[in-house]
Symmetry: C2
Subunit: 334 residues, 2 copies
């Protein structure tokens, strides 16, 4: 269970960067892989006085071509298969600009890996069908890399605490599945025929809310969805709330928790509690996870847990099975 | 029509900053005012080699409290009334950190103005009921300020070209209203009973798509909506497209135009053209606007034009009139 060192490829990457001045990081990907970059930036914002960072969709990054992108930049990209065309092009673009390119992928022989200076392999249980340790997931690998970069840039070493925390992540996820099982059964029944289901979150959780909305609800279930930032909610979106509005509301443990609590309170007051699925990390058993990293690991727990919810939802909807798509990987010429 | 100098309060602010090293800009606001910060960052990304910038919701900014925020930072905030609580708190937070605080608002006597070191007043026609020159709108003022900051940081002066272009903006908007009148009448009829209407855009247009989705469709019409980034669209959201799906698709003139064209092409192919309202800036008369600023001014034109669409839509929906709200400014204790 104890994780005492970063993965070998991360260690090698950090060693190669050790002599560099790390000041600017671009976090670039598409869709679900982009979603992990938001908590990555949150971590950098909270822990580095020297590193500035940006999060971009892969194709936006190539076209926008920020003037600050140069040989001093570090560009971190992620694609599960390593074949996402926009992300591969973004890696090639960054390389052409002289930047140091780090590619995260399941497949170290993929085009993304080929385009990168450094390749970090991660694991995903749902593609391999094999149970993994969540420490080796995309989130886990990204956090280890960023903690290493903060150590290089700022001289503050969060890695020992992060590694200890990652070592206790998978048991926390396993316990969350048990904790949420009945809740998800209840809400799958309530949500199965809904046309619109929103997600809300802030801070480190925003990416998980975004990914569940676009990759699970929209992509795999063809349900209209949107990830609404928990405070932006009050500046327009909340006007759609009535007794029929459906929300999945995340409440985490980072510094923005009060934003997420405020959203829940509003939804409970003006919506119908039967339509508001609240995931509150205060209910989770996070034994062994350092309080300073709980806020960062909660979105992994929420997202992993919500996969089970998605399967329950799909089982009840005969319209489509989970992972049914009309366009993605069915039509290639768009 | 010619605009030969920046507004006096912008000039004074730039003069006060003239001796400063401008390297980091935070763009902070909520909802509709936040939406203008996205093209602001796009402009900085494209035109400054030295300035890094971040866009944050006001409350997220306060809680996240980025470590890089310090006495060297410039924090630009915006609130129409200057009373948005989260934005005022964000200004106070930035000031407490020693940052230079610039507040944009309609009301120079508002709490935001009081919390700021420098106050930039802008104009909005829909609040005053008086016709304004769009050069003095929130977008116009922000662009002038940012061009001034780029001049300080990089020594490149885009202001003369920007001023010339802003001087030709209002006529371009007036012509767009004529251009789109019939199209909007047709689509208001088609969209009036729809439950979900998405917007899509990328680059400098993303903020306008975001604002129309959350402040107009969701807030004022209680229609489910989402601003989908034109490339993120292909990484999940596009699976909801069928012959009934409704979209408002923006196609601008900045470097990301091909992303927006690709989205339109997909929607036309797999959706029903009668449900896809396309605004293509290539159809607009932008006489006098420098090509290098067309991409930045197009979202103002689209957004201003779409207000007319919103009124037409509201006229056809007896469920709610434009500017009807259930919660905003009706209930104060949330």
């Amino acid at each position: 269970m104890m994780k005492t060192a970063v993965n070998a490829d991360i260690a090698a990457t950090l060693a190669a960067l050790g002599s560099r001045t790390v000041l600017q990081v671009f976090l670039v990907a598409c869709g679900g892989s982009l979603s992990i970059m938001h908590p990555g930036k949150y971590f950098l914002d909270r822990h580095s006085r020297r590193i500035t960072s940006d999060v971009y969709n892969g194709d936006e990054f190539v076209c926008r071509d920020p003037l600050t992108l140069d040989a001093h930049s570090i560009v971190i990209l992620c694609s599960q298969t390593g074949t996402t065309r926009e992300t591969v092009r973004a890696a090639q673009h960054a390389k052409a600009k002289g930047a140091t390119v780090i590619g995260m992928t399941l497949d170290p022989a993929s085009p993304l890996a080929e385009a990168a200076d450094h390749v970090l392999q991660y694991q995903a249980s749902y593609t391999t069908g094999v149970a993994i340790d969540a420490a080796d997931s995309n989130y886990g690998v990204l956090y280890m890399l960023l903690a290493g970069l903060v150590n290089i840039a700022d001289g503050t070493d969060y890695l020992p605490s992060l590694l200890k925390s990652l070592g206790h992540l998978q048991p926390a996820i396993d316990k969350a599945h048990i904790r949420y099982a009945d809740l998800f059964t209840t809400f799958a029944e309530r949500f199965k025929d809904r046309l619109v289901i929103y997600t809300t979150a802030s801070g480190a959780n925003y990416g998980a809310a975004y990914s569940f909305a676009i990759c699970v609800l929209m992509e795999m279930q063809w349900i209209n969805s949107q990830a609404i930032h928990a405070n932006e909610f009050f500046h327009g979106p909340f006007e759609v709330v009535d007794e029929n509005a459906c929300f999945i509301t995340m409440i985490g443990l980072d510094e923005t928790r009060r934003l997420e609590e405020r959203t829940r309170d509003f939804l409970y007051r003006f919506g119908d509690k039967n339509n508001i699925l609240v995931l509150d990390a205060a209910d989770l058993d996070l034994d062994g996870i350092d309080p300073q990293f709980q806020g960062y690991l909660v979105p992994l727990i929420f997202f992993d847990a919500l996969w089970k919810f998605a399967y329950k939802l799909a089982d009840l909807r005969d319209q489509t099975m989970l992972e049914a798509r009309r366009y993605m990987k069915k039509i290639s010429d768009y």
